[in-house]
């Protein structure tokens, strides 16, 4: 039987305050639907006949449907059949959790995700061994790589139809588990956990650098924006290396130039789109996999992948542990390289050498 691909497309990513405090992108619903149509066409070109999609009330599905109807009216047969997970819609992250769980139980070969880091986190929490193919439609996205979604669709299609060996097609990813009061894992982050002094969740986004205190990242990438950039501009750590980085920050840092506290350095970092902000760095160190870290900050909120999610007080005991190889993604770059080297998309075999 041909493999089925799951689709989680979040209609409400990229809607937060960063559109006002920074000039962040506001990707329209119609654009999200167009991205999805491009992915669907690529999947179909690789032989995927069926996809199963998370239901939502944000309009993505209805715009996609419009695209399918128009293609059919023109006599084109470009897309796989779209099925919807039978479940109620709440309009919250719980929908993503539920849909991912159902897709995993139904045995999908991969899940294509359209959303920000938060959406990818919600999928990663429930996907088990099912690989994720991420597409950024959010704000500060550090987790999904930025590329044309058609290529993500193609790589996913090639990977799930078995034309690329799994050790090339799929890559392991790190995550940080956050445990509160020694209980089971309370939450996790794919890229970063930031401890900030604001004790309310509020508008969720992080942009007041003077409130940042501790930062834990799975990879420290100077080519992204957000928390990972702060770490990446101090000591880059790759996605494919073991372990991450821990950075301690101090109040102040509201001005560029010499830091207010003699023991600190001021770093200018792109913390949001178009927003270069000074952060006062006290020190940093590697965060090895499997070693629990206990933060020094005693109260505030925990931001996961750039959004405040939980608040904690002096009474709570936190511990953070990085795990290597916690879940899988489609390695788009490796798949496409393999596809080129092995001419996977040529109709009939062509000569390996172009020598005439």
């Amino acid at each position: 039987m041909a493999p089925v691909v799951g689709i989680v497309a979040n209609p409400v990513s990229a809607r937060d305050i960063r559109r006002v405090v920074a000039n962040a992108t506001s990707l329209q619903i119609a654009d999200r639907a167009n991205i999805l149509l491009r992915v669907l066409a690529a999947l179909r070109a690789c032989g995927v006949q069926d996809v199963v999609m998370m239901p939502e009330h944000g309009g993505i599905r209805s715009h996609v449907e419009r695209g399918l109807v128009r293609a059919r009216a023109r006599g084109e047969d470009l897309y796989p059949a779209i099925h919807t997970v039978a479940m109620p819609v709440t309009g919250t992250a719980a929908d993503t959790h539920r849909a991912t769980r159902e897709m995993r139980l139904a045995g999908v070969a991969a899940i294509v995700v359209l959303g920000g880091d938060g959406t990818h986190r919600a999928v990663a929490a429930e996907c088990g061994a099912v690989p994720i193919a991420g597409i950024s439609t959010g704000t500060n996205n550090a987790f999904p790589e930025h590329r044309e979604p058609t290529i993500t669709g193609l790589a996913t299609g090639l990977a799930v139809t078995g034309r690329v060996p799994p050790h090339i097609a799929f890559a392991g990813n790190k995550r940080i588990d956050v445990s509160v009061n020694g209980g089971a894992v309370a939450e996790m982050a794919l890229v970063d956990v930031a401890l900030v002094t604001e004790r309310y969740i509020g508008a969720r986004a992080l942009w007041r650098t003077e409130n940042f205190r501790e930062l834990y990242v799975t990879f420290a990438d100077p080519e992204v924006i957000g928390m990972s950039a702060i770490a990446g501009l101090l000591e880059p750590v790759g996605r494919d290396e073991s372990g991450g980085l821990m950075v301690r920050l101090a109040p102040g840092g509201s001005e560029t130039g010499p830091a207010s506290d003699p023991g600190t350095t001021t770093l200018l970092a792109p913390i949001a789109p178009g927003m270069m902000a000074p952060v006062s760095v006290t020190d940093w160190r590697r965060m090895p996999a499997g070693v629990p870290f206990v933060p020094k900050v005693t109260s505030g909120s925990i931001a996961l992948d750039g959004e405040r999610e939980l608040s904690f007080t002096e009474r709570d005991r936190l511990s953070l542990t990085l795990r290597d190889d916690a879940f899988h993604t489609v390695n788009v770059a490796a798949v496409m390289r393999h596809a080129g080297q092995n001419r996977l998309l040529t109709g009939t075999p062509v000569p390996v050498s172009a020598d005439l």
């Binding site: 006002v20 506001s26 619903i29 309310y200 969740i201 007080t313």
Partner: protein
Amino acid sequence: MSQNPFPLDKADLLKAYRTMRTIRDFEERLHVDFAKGDIPGFVHLYAGEEACATGIMMHLNDNDRIASTHRGHGHCIAKGVDVHAMMAEIYGRSTGACRGKGGSMHIADLSKGMMGANGILGAGAPLICGAALAAKVRGDRGVGITFVGDGASNQGTFLESLNLAAVWNLPVVFVVENNGYAESTAMEWAVSCDSYVDRATGFGMPGVTVDGTDFFAVYEAAGEIIRRARDGGGPALLECNMVRFYGHFEGDAQTYRAKGELEAIRASRDCLTILSERVIEAGVVSRDELQAIDREVADRIEDAVRAAKAAPLPEASDLLTDVYVAY
């Protein structure tokens, strides 16, 4: 008491709670009195939506203008309109905010910057563009806020106002109060393009969506948006996702709601409970302090109803006063 982790000091937290509690009690009292047949005309209750009006109005002063909707009691109270004058107006008494001639959907108080509730959907948006233009010309740093429901946002007036505000760079904030329904029509049946933020983007202004049942989410987002407008940064749209606890109007049987929907939203999305639990848990405010406010508000509403009932109705001769304004 531990250190205050919130973006408001304790006095302002109590003020926000008092405003939200006043709106809730005001509306719950109207719900009861309307059923008894004591109140003329139509009333649309704001109960369940208090965090939105309050989180926004905490950033405004009397010089800032707002243009409200048919569901306007919450906006009036949060903007500082006198509760006694509002109650008397709704009871149709001559001591009312509009001398008993307007009723629920026309309460206005220009001294507080409240340009009026409005029975015509989408009518507040052009009005607020005018007020914002005046503020811009005067250079007094005033801002204008207009509220619009998910349904009313489809009115041409609203869309034209987005355009006008964008091209004139007016200090306006368009607040979409998305409670999921326009009368009995669920939003997904009625709104093309599916996202209010997309509409704002289309007109070249930023849009933000927040959980309108979370006072702090509204307060923080509104603060940034209002500050930006005051500083000359131009208009923006704020979509607040929220819930209404009663019918569209008093007397609505609400057959369009899913089974258990009302019970579920009252249990999990009550903005007053969400706010009070958060401030108590943080140790900044005690339950006793909030209960003292509850008692004070209950007394005030009771007194407003008593005073309204005791006040005279307008006379026939009052029909010809306040009709035209001479400039």
